[in-house]
């Protein structure tokens, strides 16, 4: 098995979960209704738990402890897609990001449940059950608001148009793409992307929203190779503030 390729994949998966988990936690206390406040906080907690499972796999492969990996790296060392680091913005953006991301993530972990790397397959079998709740939640709100008032539809459509190029960045391939497919670790980005497009289109077709032609969009790449937006480093600084005060503290 190609360990470098495996680690590359795990870092991408884990960093996406960690960063979006932190972003979603920013809705704590700000949600448009109480249930949404709690839902975003709860999904954020799930995502942080998922990142911990994945960083633990990396630790087993010889990388540093999960807390060290999560809190001591700087932006260029992160492998997350730029999609997850953008500020939470208005609720319509956060909802659309959650919708586009979680559909991709569910497909990813459903595929990884068959991974030739058994420890990853076990984690994936665990996480995919939880991710179903996340996609159900996103679908419910996209369907409701996507066929609600003119303002709701317009806001969601604008957010969809803005967010899709970033969401395509989730499927950015790295130099290890062929190796992870050849080793049976993962089915690869193209397979996931095709099914993702089908699934989100199916939901959007039940709303007044229009799915832009994906082929005409330019994906926002770079995140997988450490190129990030100006928003990531300040987020990392804030996330790690307490940890960095005393990295050896016993809690």
């Amino acid at each position: 098995m190609n360990t470098d390729a495996l680690k590359d994949l795990l870092y991408r998966l884990a960093d996406d979960q960690l960063i979006l988990g932190h972003r979603n936690s920013e809705w704590n206390g700000l949600g448009p209704i109480l249930e949404e406040d709690i839902a975003f906080s709860s999904m954020a907690q799930d995502k942080l738990g998922h990142s911990l499972q994945l960083y633990s796999l990396l630790h087993q492969l010889g990388e540093a402890e999960p807390d060290m990996v999560a809190f001591t790296r700087n932006a260029p060392q992160f492998h997350c897609a730029q999609l997850v680091e953008l500020p939470i913005g208005e609720y319509d953006f956060s909802l659309i990001r959650h919708f586009l991301y979680d559909h991709a993530e569910l497909l990813r972990f459903e595929a990884l449940a068959q991974s030739s790397y058994e420890p990853l397959a076990q984690v994936a079998r665990k996480l995919k059950g939880e991710l179903k709740y996340h996609t159900l939640h996103a679908n419910t709100w996209v369907k409701q608001l996507g066929s609600a008032t003119e303002e709701a539809i317009e806001r969601l459509q604008n957010s969809l148009n803005f967010t899709l190029p970033y969401a395509l960045g989730l499927f950015e391939k790295t130099a290890q793409e062929e190796a992870i497919i050849a080793d049976g670790i993962f089915v690869g980005e193209d397979a996931i992307k095709t099914r993702w497009e089908e699934n989100i289109t199916k939901v959007l077709n039940q709303t007044a929203l229009e799915m832009p032609d994906l082929a005409s969009l330019t994906p926002v790449y770079g995140g997988r190779t450490g190129q990030h937006t100006e928003y990531l480093q300040p987020l990392l600084d804030e996330m790690a503030e307490v940890f960095r005060l005393d990295p050896t503290a016993e809690w």
Binding site: E35, I38, M43, Q122, R125, G129, H137
Partner: protein, 161 residues
């Protein structure tokens, strides 16, 4: 010396940190116990939700309880080999959830989880059936929030997974 059955009966006393009427055995969190010739005990546990912050408490409670019964060495292994499912909650566990005011999860038996399946829950107070899922995300990762139109109260369900 003690047997595997002794260990399981002692572990009946270890309750879920947030649901004091349900033991970790009946919650399905404790999957296996091994008693080694040296007297060392290995307990294999599986987390309900991957991000459950109570796992550390559960691990500590298991260790302390077995030590109090004279087990010299306890090793708790957290394993995902057999992913936890709400179907693993025993009948006794389900009764304990009801006692705590939580509706037990429906048995999934490998069915695909969809919203229809989640929407129904019997009200634990008035046993009404005219209920509505408000959100699958409650006060903890394992709880969903429902509303009962009969007694007009919010209630929680231990959610299916």
């Amino acid at each position: 010396m003690y047997s595997k059955a002794d260990i399981f009966s002692w572990l009946e006393a270890v309750k879920d940190p947030e649901i004091p009427t349900v033991s970790l055995v009946d919650l399905g969190v404790i999957r296996a116990v091994e008693v080694e010739d040296s007297g060392r005990v290995v307990v294999r546990m599986t987390p309900t939700f991957a991000g459950c912050p109570a796992m550390d408490y559960m691990r500590r409670d298991v260790e302390q309880t077995l030590r109090a019964h004279g087990v010299p060495e306890v090793q708790v292994e957290i394993s995902l080999a057999e992913a936890w499912s709400s179907d693993m909650v025993t009948e006794k566990g389900r009764a304990g959830l009801r006692q705590h005011g939580l509706t037990p999860p429906p048995m999934l038996e490998g069915q695909v989880l969809d919203l229809d399946f989640l929407e129904y829950a019997e009200c634990p107070r008035c046993h009404g059936h005219n209920t509505e899922l408000r959100t699958p995300f409650g006060a903890t990762l394992c709880r969903a929030v429902h509303y009962c139109h009969d007694c007009r109260q919010i209630f929680e369900q231990f959610k299916p997974l």
